[in-house]
């Protein structure tokens, strides 16, 4: 991308570690139904701004940890925003933000997922701290790298 140095998204580095065998992941820890959430900025908006979207990378990483990975429908380029994008998580319009998230909440409960994997701070906060309570979803929410970190088979180093 740039000549001077590379710019990595969270996916680029995690995929690199997995493909080069630098990390080993245990897929027997997160066996309950899980679903991957497409953040607008990594998907639709990245595609628009840079001509490249990260749709499959996050799923690939999540699938390496979660054998039962499901889809929220619609997804990828047609995915619904969590409701807290564009700075809305920090904005004072919380009623609007929660209402906005109703579509995401419905998708989650329809998927039957008990774990939502979000590769974005903003989406994770909205789904975990707001939608989960407001819509009584009873789910667990993890960052993508939190999922990886919790699935690591630690090398034997002394």
């Amino acid at each position: 991308m740039f000549k001077e140095f590379k710019v990595y998204s969270v996916f680029d580095l995690l995929i690199e570690y997995i493909k080069e065998g630098k990390i080993q992941l245990d897929n027997t820890i997160h066996t309950h139904p899980a679903a991957y959430h497409d953040p607008c900025n990594y998907g639709r908006k990245s595609l628009k701004a840079f001509g490249q979207a990260f749709f499959e990378e996050g799923r690939e990483v999540a699938r390496a940890c979660c054998p039962d990975l499901r889809e929220l429908n619609p997804n990828r380029n047609e995915a619904y925003c969590c409701g807290a994008g564009g700075g809305a998580w920090a904005m004072p319009f919380s009623d609007e933000r929660v209402f906005y998230g109703r579509t995401k909440a419905r998708q989650i409960s329809e998927s039957g997922a008990e774990l939502i994997v979000a590769p974005c701070h903003n989406c994770r906060d909205q789904i975990m701290k707001s939608l989960n309570k407001e819509y009584d979803l009873g789910i667990e929410v993890k960052y993508l790298w939190e999922l990886v970190s919790d699935s690591l088979i630690m090398p034997n180093k002394q």
Binding site: F5, Y8, K22, R44, C81, G87, M91, E96, Q158
Partner: protein, 309 residues
């Protein structure tokens, strides 16, 4: 609904001559137009008004129509929007025809938007206001700040209108001290102190060291947080929310780096990875913050920049 009548029937109903009815229609007093088969058509509402004027009950009572009296009470209480004068000046916000003028007004964007209808918000309305040059109203509106710029509208738009770009432009044109919430304050803080929440360098470095010791004791023997390590491969930026409120969450990445045997570092200053200028529409501030990360890459001679989100 339309009310269909013959002139003779109407004349009989209101007790006037047939020619009187014809004169009324010709003069426009009776707002009717010719219909098929020597009949006339008028809006049922107008027929109701006519009946009211003559103190008569309408001869028919369609079941799907509301009583005139109930409408009148609503009309009396409804606030009338004041007439708006369009000066014909073009919007300064819609810098390209592709941002508003090419809109077909189909409303697909409004159907796609998860928050359309809330507080009168509607992407089509916003685009239309830009076409009409209503820049002041747009900039003063809270709508662009309730929109999450998710781009659902834009991806659905058959005319490829750049709705998100327009929305961000509107945000950027608001007076900075009127930007809702902490977004602009965070930008100012970041420019002044290197991160959105103003965490001092010493506190940050101390926190990193302390968390590193915890991680070493917990699951990664020998781990030391690499702050300002020259020549490390990966430079890691941080979402200031984490050191501020959820410091333990920083360890997820650190544990992965440890397992992968990565050569990485966190800069002690200007480590902020969240560029709020993107959301506040502040390109100049965005550029400064990005420039500082580039400076860190050069100063520490790193090969790969990792952005946390």
């Amino acid at each position: 609904m339309m009310y269909e009548f013959r002139v003779s029937e109407m004349a009989e109903e209101f007790g006037v001559h047939r020619n009187t009815i014809r004169n009324w229609i010709a003069a426009g007093t009776l707002p009717a137009k010719e219909g098929p088969g020597r009949k006339y058509l008028m809006k049922f509402h107008d027929y109701q008004v006519l009946c009211e004027k003559f103190g008569r009950e309408p001869v028919i009572h369609p079941s799907n129509h509301v009583e005139l009296a109930s409408i009148q009470s609503m009309e009396a209480s409804a606030e009338q929007m004041p007439p708006m004068v369009l000066e014909g000046h073009h919007s300064e916000l819609a810098v390209d025809p592709n941002w508003a003028d090419a809109c077909l007004t189909c409303g697909t964007c409004a159907s796609a938007c998860p928050i359309a209808g809330v507080d009168g918000l509607d992407p089509r309305k916003i685009v239309r206001m830009a076409v009409l040059g209503m820049d002041k109203e747009l900039i003063e509106s809270q709508w662009p700040w309730k929109c999450t710029m998710c781009g659902k509208c834009e991806v659905s738009c058959p005319a490829n209108i750049q709705i998100v770009a327009l929305m961000r432009k509107i945000r950027g044109n608001r007076e900075r001290d009127k930007v809702p919430g902490p977004i602009h304050k965070g930008v100012v803080m970041c420019l002044e102190r290197g991160n959105n929440l103003g965490i001092p360098k010493d506190d940050f470095v101390y926190l990193c060291e302390e968390l590193g010791e915890e991680l070493a004791a917990d699951s990664c023997p020998g781990f030391v947080t690499p702050v300002d390590v020259h020549g490390a491969r990966v430079l890691v930026t941080v979402n200031s929310k984490e050191p501020f409120a959820e410091p333990d969450d920083m360890k997820y990445w650190w544990k992965i780096f440890y397992a992968a045997g990565e050569s990485w570092t966190i800069p002690s200053e200007n480590w902020e990875g969240v560029n709020w200028g993107l959301f506040s529409g502040d390109d100049a501030a965005m550029k400064v913050v990005v420039g500082r990360i580039v400076d860190n890459m050069r100063r520490l001679n790193c090969k790969v920049l990792l952005l946390p989100e």
